[in-house]
Symmetry: C3
Subunit: 293 residues, 3 copies
């Protein structure tokens, strides 16, 4: 595997192999790389969780990490992404983690570029490392994907997390349902209400309302959103005994989810972040080992 760009490119076998390796890292396995590779994290959109999680994974793998700040790079002099990437390849960087606002930005990078690319999020496209950590967290909880009922709720149309997870979870045998305001349902078929789906869901995966992508479309206030589409205190009581709550974060407390539920017993939100480091170690190691042959 030379790149990790989209969950669509990964086979069930690829996914399971990465999850298994992540579990080994969680149990204290040492990295298995022949050289001290060099990587850089090119984040053209704001991030705390994904960037810091990759930074941590990179240090645990003993990689060299070259700092890159989009705002002070030559991109402000008009340099294209492809020329920036080729520059880093020429300098000797082995792999890049890239987050970029352009959907499928990576397509233009694959011809004639020898550097490996790990997609850290492309516009409203894909977010494979987030998806992998979601899968890891679900498998950790239930030991399987087959037959689970998973409800993804919120701004599905704009969510690369929803898109990545939908592809992967269905491939792995889960039943995936969506709940969303009409305006944000995109290409997905949605259920009509929480009441319809909540009692049978094993996993409730909430998405962040992305205020910065919507502008002010004024369709609902925060309170209205919470009331209609959020996981309220009342709704949580309808959940199955062992069902869990997930959210990729950052969280809008009191919008997608009641403030009190963020750290309740069912919540795996901080567990997801914790798992992310092991999953990203596995992704980075897999991609870098792919260069050793």
């Amino acid at each position: 595997m030379r790149h990790v760009l989209s969950m669509k490119n990964l086979s069930t076998e690829d996914i399971i192999r990465i999850l298994d390796r992540a579990a080994e890292f969680e149990s204290g396995a040492k990295p298995n790389l022949k050289e001290t590779y060099t990587v850089s994290n090119l984040f053209f959109e704001p991030s705390t969780r994904t960037k810091m999680s990759f930074e941590m994974a990179e240090r645990k793998l003993n990689l060299h990490v070259l700092p890159f700040e989009a705002a002070t790079s030559s991109t402000v002099k008009g340099e294209t992404l492809i020329d920036t990437v080729k520059t880093l390849e020429a300098i000797g960087v082995d792999a890049l983690v890239i987050r970029h606002e352009a959907e499928e930005y990576y397509n233009e990078l694959l011809n004639g570029v020898g550097i490996s690319v790990i997609n850290g999020g492309d516009g409203a496209g894909q977010h494979p490392s987030q998806s992998m950590l979601d899968l890891y967290t679900i498998r950790q909880e239930f030991g399987r994907f087959e037959g689970l009922t998973i409800t993804i709720a919120g701004d599905i149309a704009h969510s690369r997390v929803a898109r990545s997870n939908a592809d992967a979870l269905k491939m792995l045998g889960a039943n995936v349902h969506y709940l969303s305001p009409l305006e944000w349902k995109g290409e997905f078929e949605t259920v009509s209400s929480w009441e319809e789906i909540l009692p049978s869901s094993d996993v409730v995966m909430l998405l962040r309302v992305q205020h910065e992508r919507h502008g002010n479309d004024g369709s609902f206030s925060k309170e209205e959103y919470h009331e209609k589409y959020g996981l309220t205190l009342k709704r949580e009581k309808m959940m199955k005994k062992d069902a869990i709550i997930m959210h990729p974060a950052p969280i809008n407390r009191g919008v997608e989810i009641a403030d009190e539920l963020v750290e309740c017993d069912r919540s795996r939100i901080f567990k997801q972040m914790h798992n992310g480091v092991f999953v990203r170690m596995a992704i980075l190691e897999t991609v870098l080992k792919g260069r050793e042959k």
Copy 2:
């Protein structure tokens, strides 16, 4: 000691122990930590000295340092400080150095957060690592605190350095005096003029006029400030034979202090910065060792 937040929380014994350990580091002692811990420096306000000094200390302690830039973090998507801190804890960060404009920002972080916090400056509150390096520099010079006369001059009301030092120096037995324009004296009792206090001061500690906090209150021009409250060439001649000049920097040359005095024989300004690295090594090591039990 799990956190270092304010000089008010530290006993005389705590302070002396940190100063002693800093002295060992200055003499070449190696760090004494069982693991490779991971830290991150969250600076929500500009800094060169404090941030770079912590960065240096962290490298001398062989820590992993995860880069954090407030401007490109999820705080720009509205994430709260507590959620950012919990995220970093979930990712596996052991300790944070935080500078934030909100006074006592750290209070909200202490409940249910397992990560250690070192306060790198909170609004007009406290700046304990600066205070510790000031104490280190004074002890290095005089071998004691008891009975020393220390004059802190300038914008005392807005200064976290003044506040941290006042608490600690009095506890350690020094006589602390303040000189300040009426507008900036805050809760402190001030002396009426340099002439009253300078001939008996062992330490003259100047504070930076914080143009960025005052706006344009127009009470004095730079020249007027220098004339009335600055350490002029003429005033320096009134100082005791072995008295020293200190300043936390950055310096407004020709405002708080005559340009020619910044590097004069009495000045310990760059010595303070030099000492800061050892003091911060001691603080970080103390906090991280506190996690080993």
Copy 3:
């Protein structure tokens, strides 16, 4: 050698020694330094290539690298460059790579500062590490400088690359010619047309049109510039059999050079970037070894 500020300060012997050491690094030589030195890269102007190349070189030399971001440093509180540099010296930094918009900014740093300075570009002044990598690339290609015909084309007046290379190449025995719009020729004597010089040139060194330095002087559109002063597809056919194309990048594709030529057989543009890491390792090692005596 305590500093590397300008090609003018370097003797032929200095240059050859650095090029030879860079060649050793390219062949896999290990760094030869007695201590783990600490450096920091102070870039007050945007950069990808130069900054990332130094960052890579620093890691290959196993140095500690303290991150510095001008935008969040105390320079925004009005701290002068000299005070920032003295601060970093006090903290224990051994060497700085500085890029700054002020021409010869380094002059004010040399008195009473013990830290070593490597100039990463000063306004329209000098850019010695770029020049060294250009020399390395030329020597790698031709095995000599003596008697080569080198044409530097573009915005010569504003180019620190042109200035650094002109000084060095002439000292090393090359014949250097310039081609430029009248408005941008500065102190240089230029040839009248590509046709006059291209058939005899061994090296064609193109410079970036620095839109950000010119503002809108409106003298030519991109298409006009390309037609009159750019390396067009047609002109490339006039070049000597073994002649090469160089460019310091970032590139304005279709302005200085036809898009199709950027990666053609004659182009050494990405090779230059590749070589830059070895040259910067040699420069850093030379400067740091100069501190060991």
